[in-house]
């Protein structure tokens, strides 16, 4: 195992213990309740963002995109819940997560989804809102939707296989 020049897993775990996060998470119901909220957040995120993406790709034509977009704040709230609970998992057991290729890929896909979302609003959103209720948005918007959908399904996949890469798996491309 090479030395990590960026992250100190022991110091992170120590910080989690000192702040009481580790104590809360390792209590009888701490971890399970955090997992439940992590999935609540994911459900809200996929139910709103994922289904908005599906509508942009042509599913449920007749649903006005601009109106469906009003559900997105629920997705953002879900994302915030998932990120918060995910943070609690990582700082409580950093050695289980930091060098886990599934988590690293998951974070990379989340970053890509975020950049994709910014690009959608910057480049394609304005013309998307002009789409007829029964129509399809411009090709560029559909491309952003497809990338978003693939990213979030990838995030779900990576989340499911995190347990397959527990230590002694060690993947540190920055070390």
């Amino acid at each position: 195992m090479g030395a990590d020049p960026l992250l100190d897993a022991s110091a992170i775990a120590q910080w989690a213990r000192e702040t009481g996060i580790a104590g809360m998470m390792t209590s009888r119901w701490g971890w399970p309740i955090a997992e439940v909220f992590h999935f609540f957040g994911l459900c809200l995120l996929f139910g709103t963002v994922g289904f908005f993406d599906l509508r942009m790709l042509g599913v449920a034509r007749g649903v006005r995109l601009k109106a469906l977009h009003r559900l997105i704040p629920f997705g953002l709230a879900g994302f915030a819940i998932s990120v918060t609970t995910g943070f609690l998992f990582v700082v409580t057991a950093p050695d289980q997560y930091l060098y886990n290729p599934a988590l690293q890929t998951k974070l990379a896909l989340m970053l890509l989804a975020g950049l994709n979302m910014v690009a959608f609003y910057a480049i394609a959103a304005r013309r998307t809102w002009l789409t007829d209720d029964d129509g399809l948005p411009p090709v560029r918007a559909r491309l952003f939707a497809a990338i978003s959908l693939v990213c979030w399904l990838g995030v779900i996949t990576c989340g499911r296989v995190i347990t397959a890469f527990r230590p002694p798996w060690y993947w540190c491309f920055w070390c």
Binding site: P32, V36, G47, T48, V63, D133
Partner: protein
Amino acid sequence: MSGFFTFIEQSWLSVWMREDPYAYFIALIFHAFGMALLVGGGIVISLRVLGVGSGAALHRFRGFFPVMWVGAAMAILSGLLLLWGYPAKALTNPVFAIKFACLAGAVLLVRTLSRGAITAAASGEPLPRNSRTLAGLALVLWLAGVAAGKLLLHTYTILMVS
């Protein structure tokens, strides 16, 4: 019941689900995809009936139903495979029954909304008075089903009987 669990656990499919390095994880991934499509659609429809995004024609949300049914099929098939791998783990855990009851209840409520509120919206009639209550209840049941599913891992008492 023990003999029934033993019979399943010793079948080739059950052994394969437990011992193949990929089978269980692939079933888990498809189960998650299926649940995301099913519950995601359920959440969207509940929120819309509750009044979010009211500029979108409610009856056109029927277009999401095929996605939900594909999700349901994926979740059920993959769920059966996961169950076949460890039948005693799930079937001796009351939380599994709670998960099943919540999701079945949510699906029935979506069906009720489809026949009531969504049909009324399609013909331009006002929504039935209990529509929002049913949508709120469906939302709670979807999330309760997901919560019960997550808690299975933390509440089982028997992994295998054989």
